[in-house]
Symmetry: C2
């Protein structure tokens, strides 16, 4: 089904039925879909009809659909909802999702949401909102199943049956002592495969891996991935359990972090909306400062060219024609290394103290690459380029030698800068191709000119 | 704990204890760790001692540790294992993990593994191996809980208790009819919250989202993410259930796909091993062909420069000094668009038929960017660059105008190529910065020279 799922087509059919007031047909049609797909349909429904159609959704799905909708759609609905409707939706949401929504809404709506939430939920919302942005605490939920050590499996099941419907997951239960300290975990699988009289303390896993409320959320998400968990507990400084992060949220965190890295690596300020839904002006603003910065820093390269212009053209006009090839290859060689290292840092595989290992590795690789590339370059110059440019062996040698050194320098800079950035807590992703290219451009030109002076003068 | 987890330190302590033959201390020490962490310890243990230490692992964890270890370590152990040990490990693995291992092992070891697997497992292995690489079928597992429609919740729990220990997940159960066709799903949560006498057919969800065995595995993984599933069913052409993919495997697929995209976008052949564990020669081979290809294609740029060299230098030497700035800005502008679109395609947000929308968007953005950039460039040339280069308003106008057009062309090419690649089933990620830069370089030079001729001649 998903292959051919076209939200716009379904939205059109829904609106058509709405024109004819065939509301029961709409209800029947919508009941066929998963909440995620329903949210996509709601996202493209005509704004004037949105509230009417939304109210036709099956009651038990309404909140699940709401949480998946675009922010502007949520805002539109909330502004039209009665207090009772707000209470229903908020009551059907998990706390972490409510927090996500609150963070995007204007103050007036936030106030209404908080007024409609019960006391416990309001406290949970405020506690999650109090954690720093991008921390594990800021994305956790407080709706987990907690068990005491001394209860039996039978009692545990009873508690799950009684409270489980409101929990974000019941598949990993968290065992806490009387001071709310996390002492173990037990999976629903273990519970099911144990005998009803077993004590939780006898069947629980005590080597619990947890994260701190202030841990970076990306780190928490990677821990879930690394261990193949369905959820990870979040504890405070005293190891008291305060929440959990579930695997679906971890996947979203990782997707967003990856998208941010892709943006930064191509010199764009990350956007939290899909490309087609971001406004032209917003994209313009996300791109402009980087292009400006890089253009201004290229002034440096122009300066170098001007400085060596007479030198180079004085020797051979051919040297000039090779500048773009030299600069591009340097940029490419540098970005090969920088992107590899940036990714490796993001995955937690490489840390700043590996810098020695990384440098030694890149040095060997760049010698091999430099050697092959410069030999090929020499051959290319003598066989192909000579067809349209005056070329002699010494000129070809100059270009090849400059290429060799450029590749080595590009790779050394490319692997070093991201690690240095990480060491001083900057984002390594910013040290990708564009910046490296600018630096390598300038350096390669200086080297080129000096080699030319040494060999050809 | 995970923050300070240092596999090498623990491995050293283990080896120290092994020297002193304190095997019980080692056992106690190792029992504190999660299988994933144990695998990392095994990965750095001295090769000669690996088999001895591995055999000290708690029996119930041995297979879980094995599956997480590096391939070369697995091969080493398998080559030292007795048939009985192989049987034990394979018996403790899920089928999809066994297939992953088999795909990496030499024929002799594969033969031994298959001989030690029971008939059912062997058949499952062969069926998974028969699906195309990168298909959903190739990464699924056949160990799921299937239920019949007419059984009661009580009977379902009995079946789960009886067979659940060997299933990759028991949290989503799959309901099939007598012809093995998938007719519904029921979560363990629903089962737990239902009464024991309820019939499965009354509580199951019938709008099942599934993927086909031949669906791309990345698509299957993104569906799991999109819907927040713990697993997704894989069906054959007749909608018969043949396997499932679990969320942990989906996360790994997405991580690897992201890493591949990062590699391709920086002109590197993707590697399936972490950077620090890949050999220098292998990295060299992954990088060389792309650098060579890009260097050779830069010949084209040299050709253009040679063609216009006399024209440009004849007019003003300053024009030459601005070439790198022009080329770099064009490259950056192009890669901003291409990387944004490539990512958007990877996330399934943009498809080739959106090309009209994308082009219109990029055109507006590039006009805005081009306008601001060329004004700033003009100012920079007249205020800063004139300090070291002869500069007049007409020259500055030439450069700024060329910059304006270059940015527009770069963005149009940058957004078009990835979509075209996708349309003809090529990998959009290859259409990233390096290739775009090469094309934009050449075009921007031609434009530059012609504008110069028109304005300054």
């Amino acid at each position: 089904m998903a292959d051919t799922f076209e939200p716009q087509e379904i939205a059109d059919r829904v609106l058509e039925l709405a024109e004819q007031k065939k509301y029961n047909d709409i209800k029947r049609m919508l009941s066929e879909f998963n909440p995620v797909d329903l949210a996509e349909i709601m996202n493209v429904i005509d704004e004037d009809r949105l509230a009417i159609i939304y109210r036709l959704l099956p009651k038990e799905l309404a909140a699940d659909v709401f949480v998946e909708m675009d922010t502007d759609r949520q805002e539109l609905l909330l502004s039209k909802f009665s207090d009772k409707e707000i209470k229903e939706v908020v009551g059907g949401l998990f706390v972490d999702d409510t927090v996500d929504i609150i963070e995007e809404m204007p103050a007036a709506i936030v106030k209404r949401i908080l007024r409609q939430a019960d006391k416990e939920t309001r406290e949970a919302i405020n506690s999650i909102l109090s954690y720093p942005e991008d921390s594990a605490g800021s994305i956790m939920t407080t709706e987990y199943v907690s068990l005491k050590e001394d209860v039996s499996v039978k009692d545990a099941f009873e508690k799950i049956r009684r409270t489980g419907v409101d929990k974000e997951t019941i598949y990993t239960c968290y065992v806490t002592d009387t001071t709310r300290k996390l002492v173990g975990i037990v999976s629903a699988k273990t519970l099911l495969l144990s005998s009803p009289d077993d004590k939780i303390s006898d069947i629980m896993e005590t080597n619990v891996i947890s994260v701190d409320t202030h841990t970076d959320k990306e780190y928490a998400a990677r821990e879930i991935q690394r261990y193949g968990f369905l959820s990870i507990p979040v504890v405070d400084k005293e190891n008291r359990l305060v929440g959990i992060i579930t695997v679906d949220d971890a996947m979203d965190v990782l997707r967003d972090e990856n998208s941010e890295d892709f943006s930064k690596m191509s010199a764009v300020t990350p956007s939290d909306k899909p490309y087609l839904k971001t406004s032209v002006f917003k994209i313009f603003l996300n791109r402009l400062p980087w292009l400006l910065l890089l253009m201004v820093s290229a002034t440096f390269t122009s300066l170098i060219i001007s400085r060596y212009e007479n030198v180079l053209t004085g020797i051979s006009i051919t040297l000039f024609a090779c500048i773009p090839m030299l600069m591009d290859t340097g940029g490419n060689a540098g970005s090969q290394s920088s992107v590899t290292i940036i990714r490796s840092i993001a995955l937690g595989e490489t840390v700043p103290k590996d810098i020695g290992k990384v440098l030694w590795k890149e040095l060997r690789i760049s010698f091999m690459l430099g050697a092959v590339m410069s030999v090929v370059c020499f051959g290319k110059l003598m066989l192909i380029d000579r067809l349209y440019n005056p070329m002699d062996a010494l000129t070809a040698l100059t270009v090849s030698l400059a290429l060799f050194i450029t590749i080595i320098i590009a790779k050394v800079i490319g692997c070093t800068l991201p690690l240095l950035a990480k060491a001083v807590k900057l984002d390594p992703a910013v040290m990708a191709s564009p910046f490296i290219t600018t630096i390598v451009d300038a350096l390669s030109l200086i080297i080129y000119a000096n080699i030319a002076l040494a060999i050809l003068n």
